[in-house]
Assembly symmetry: C2
Homo-oligomer: 573 residues x 2
């Protein structure tokens, strides 16, 4: 495996050995490269920043659910280091070209044209983009028509071209649609600042993957499949209703943030629930099960059709439905699906944009619950409308434009779909993750609500700092292997899980790799991230929730927050 | 003397003894109140923030140049503590009502009307504002017509009403015009968030000021006047050409930031120089000498008329002329004067807005040098145009809207009119002052360029950290007495200066007050500010210039920056 380094100013490239980065992959690789090579105090949109697209350690293999993609850079949203994780076909395809990662460096002169970069096994081509300025679905059609329909893509939408902080990198899914997002932290803005519209991988050029111990790997892989099949969440809950199964669950727990985190329950929850979603999809001829990448056996995604039975969106996640639904008091699932599609089209993060729209509601630009108005406003992003530039820079930025002081962000990144007061283990993660507010960085919802991997009260402080800390390490390891985070549900409840992951690495690479090595992989990844953030000026004071969580309790259970600055530091490695 | 505390939500008030704040005034008072009473992690526009308007310790006296006003709050621009300093009649008038400071607390419900607060010696009146939404000059007319022409005012313009981070508090000058600005750090946004359009002081109600040692004070005051009269800068340079005398001086030194800090000299400098300014004013019947407050004997301000001999602006400072002139490559003094007036009208900081317009030029929205376009864009601030909301939030914010990565800010506040590479003593101040980039916090231009108070090479690192540190302490003391910063020119070169300041305090208050006490006043003020900022999450990493000053040298002398993070910490008390 090699690393492909591309200089975006000179349009030159080189294939490099892994060298000092050998043994790393996914998030561990992106965070190590950023921490080593990017000055912590550089401007995130400057030539000194880099963006790394890395597949996980297990990506070259046939391990189930190993096709997650890590995108890393200094974030224009948080000002800290960022790894943003996505599905799609990119991570599966990259190793077929003999590549574990692509690094985009330097940047072209201001005003340079956007470019398309075509990566083939033996060479890289640079073209002025055929899709500059286009929304992602139309751009994808144009790109495939131009470069070949077997191309697998990573691209930015108009938001990324404008270097807006909520901009995503969109990856093509198994159906060839640009529906999968490295959503958080403005990775699309960094890619856009380097004037890269799309990176295209020639998927026809498969290279054989060598396993050090092929039989051993097959046995481990078989056990891995068995572990997934044996857990009710990965075999039934997620495949049945998608992640939206959580709407009713989190609402019942009184932890569904509603009206910009004022309440823990939403009267309209049933209308936007996973159950309603599945029923609607079935009625209209969509798909209730769908994988974000080949090799996924959980199939938590879906294909959602509109009232006329026409494709509308896919990868329609719980967090998106929560954000555009409960948090904005919107009850119409079709409206919410259109918001999701719009975000994919413009290339912007649904969690950030949902919270952003909440700021527009606080400011009186949109009425609470007015889904049609949200769609109208979202469509301004990526256009010449300056309001679109405000929204596209996210929640805190939009709040500042309109003098709103109820701003649910940590490290400038908007909070996801679980009220931290009622699900404290994930609240601790929001506060302390080097990523900013990010549920995927340490998903304490498992122990607090789902009772997976333990049963710890999310309303009380006890035990939740420890849960968050352990999950943050485990998650960093999973992200480094390139596995889907949802494998954690099975792994947390099955003693075979963690050793099996280590075994897959060991049999593939042929180098000893123990459970301790796996934990060290995660912990060292976090240490890279914390080191970068420290040098970028972050302090324990930045590891806090906004004050209103400290001063207001959450109905219906009237739970507060209550952690001190010092207590929260316990969650950091 | 009392402190007037006003609850802006309940529209109630109380007159309080100084209590724990006795012995403080001006900046020492605002910074102590903010540090003690405002949670460092609160949102700057939330009810928990406070805004303090304080006169200096010597304000009640007849000491020359003691009429400067301090406005303090947690800054929405920097996220740290802020003292913003202004001329005008407010500081002279406040003690006549028996008040040393006014504190605005809490905030009304969203959507509440703007209010006017009329302060009389015995009572405070609250009115829904008669001037809501109005620009400051029209608002001032309306306010005086409504409440009486003897009213002295502090008000926000449309920018403050919209809570934009570059918004000023405008104070009325001796001619009754709202031309004096507490410009930096968005104090107008904080006042606007509390829905206060104007605070009006009834200047007719003079109370007699008691001196503990009236004869002693008179003697000290006389010496003070003599010190000012004896120094060429305070008696000739500043009164002759205003602060704009510096255009040619700083340009000759190769330190006049040009085209967004790319060059140190501007080909059009002569056209915007103090000499040209004075000539133009004389020709058109304006005034070349003018005081920002009664009791000013330096008279560095002026009254500038347009081509038709009609009043255009006053308080037309070097920094404004530099920013809208050299930094934007604009050569037309009338255009620059109109930009100054527009900033006063909308209530926005000229230094912040000049740098903001540089970002618009970097983004290609305005052509370099196009003064008419700058005026057009500035006029968008405070209107319904979303672009105005972008500009009104300042330099870094505007850069982010348009993906610009050459952003001259420290702690998010834009740099003033001296390139830090060529005037390192002021560069160190930009980097390390708790205020963010602020030349007035430690004006090392004195030693580096003007050769006042010493002669230290501004191109070399040696000695400049120490100069900045000492000046930062001295300045905090001067700001706390309520003296104009320009007294420092005389004081630095006259051994009688500092003892005379201490003597004025001692004879007025009747309490022993030594030179050491004066220095402690300044140092403790800084300690309050640094303590607040530390608790707000600032670190040594925040005490840096943007990286491009580190990586690029400044023509024509090709000087770099070169300080390490550690070296700069030496400038902090």
């Amino acid at each position: 495996m090699k690393i492909l380094r591309i200089n975006t100013r000179s349009r030159t490239y080189r294939f490099e050995d892994l060298g000092e980065y050998a043994g790393l992959g996914g998030r561990a690789l992106t965070s190590r490269i950023i921490n080593r090579e990017v000055p912590a105090d550089c401007h995130p949109l400057s030539a000194e920043n880099k963006i790394v697209l890395a597949a996980g350690i297990l990506a070259p293999t046939t391990a189930a659910n190993s096709g997650r993609m890590s995108v890393g850079a200094k974030s224009p949203l948080t000002g800290g280091i960022k790894e943003s994780n996505s599905g799609g076909q990119f991570a599966n395809t990259l190793p077929k070209l003999g590549l574990l990662a692509i690094v985009l460096e330097d940047k072209p002169e201001a005003g340079s044209p956007m470019m398309d970069i075509v990566v083939r096994p033996d060479r890289v081509e640079f073209h002025d983009s055929v899709a500059a300025g286009m929304r992602t679905y139309a751009a994808q059609e144009k790109l495939l028509a131009t470069y070949g329909k077997e191309m697998v893509t990573a691209m930015v939408g108009p938001a990324g071209e404008q270097c807006l902080s909520a901009a995503t990198v969109q990856f093509s899914d198994p159906d060839g649609l640009p529906s999968r997002s490295a959503g958080r932290g403005g990775m699309g803005a960094v890619m856009g600042s380097k004037r890269v519209k799309a990176i295209l991988l020639d998927s026809t050029a498969a290279q054989k993957v060598e396993y050090a111990d092929e039989e051993g790997f097959k046995a481990a892989r078989k056990e891995w499949v068995d572990i997934m099949r044996n857990h009710p969440v990965t075999s039934q809950g997620l495949p049945g209703f998608g992640t939206a199964v959580l709407v009713n669950v989190i609402n019942a727990a009184g932890a569904l943030p509603t009206k910009n985190f004022r309440f823990g329950q939403f009267a309209g929850a049933e209308k936007i629930s996973g159950e309603t979603l599945a029923e609607t999809i079935t009625k209209r001829g969509g798909k209730t099960k769908h994988g974000c990448h080949s090799g996924c056996m959980i199939q938590c995604s879906q294909v959602y059709h509109d009232k006329d039975g026409k494709y509308l969106t896919t990868g329609f996640e719980y967090e998106t439905i929560w954000g555009f639904g409960a948090d904005l008091m919107v009850e119409d699932l079709d409206d919410i699906a259109m918001m999701d599609r719009t975000c994919d089209e413009v290339g912007m993060d649904t969690i950030e944009m949902a919270n952003t729209m909440a700021m527009a509601m606080e400011a009186g630009i949109i009425n609470w619950g007015d889904g049609k108005a949200v769609i109208r406003e979202l469509n301004k992003v990526g256009t010449d409308d300056p309001l679109g530039r405000i929204y596209g820079n996210g929640t805190a930025y939009t709040a500042k434009a309109f003098g709103v002081d109820r701003v649910p962000v940590v490290k400038n990144q908007a909070l996801p779909a679980y009220d931290p007061r009622a699900v404290k283990a994930v609240g601790v993660t929001y506060a302390t993750s080097p990523m900013g507010a990010d549920h995927t960085a340490g998903y304490g919802v498992a122990q607090n609500v789902l009772k997976v991997g333990g049963d710890v009260d999310g309303h009380k402080k006890e035990g939740n700092v420890e849960i968050s800390k352990n999950l943050q390490v485990a998650t960093a390891a999973i992200d480094s292997l390139g596995l889907c985070l949802f494998v954690a549900f099975a792994v947390l409840d099955d003693a075979r899980g963690v050793p099996c992951m280590a075994k897959m690495v060991e049999t593939y690479t042929g180098k000893p790799f123990s459970v301790d090595d796996l934990i060290a992989l995660g912990a060292n990844c976090l240490k890279d991230e914390l080191d970068f953030n420290r040098r970028a000026g972050f302090t324990p004071e930045d590891d806090q929730l906004p004050r209103f969580f400290q001063t207001e309790t959450l109905p219906p259970h009237n739970v507060g927050w209550g952690y001190t600055v010092e207590e929260l530091q316990g969650a950091k490695v």
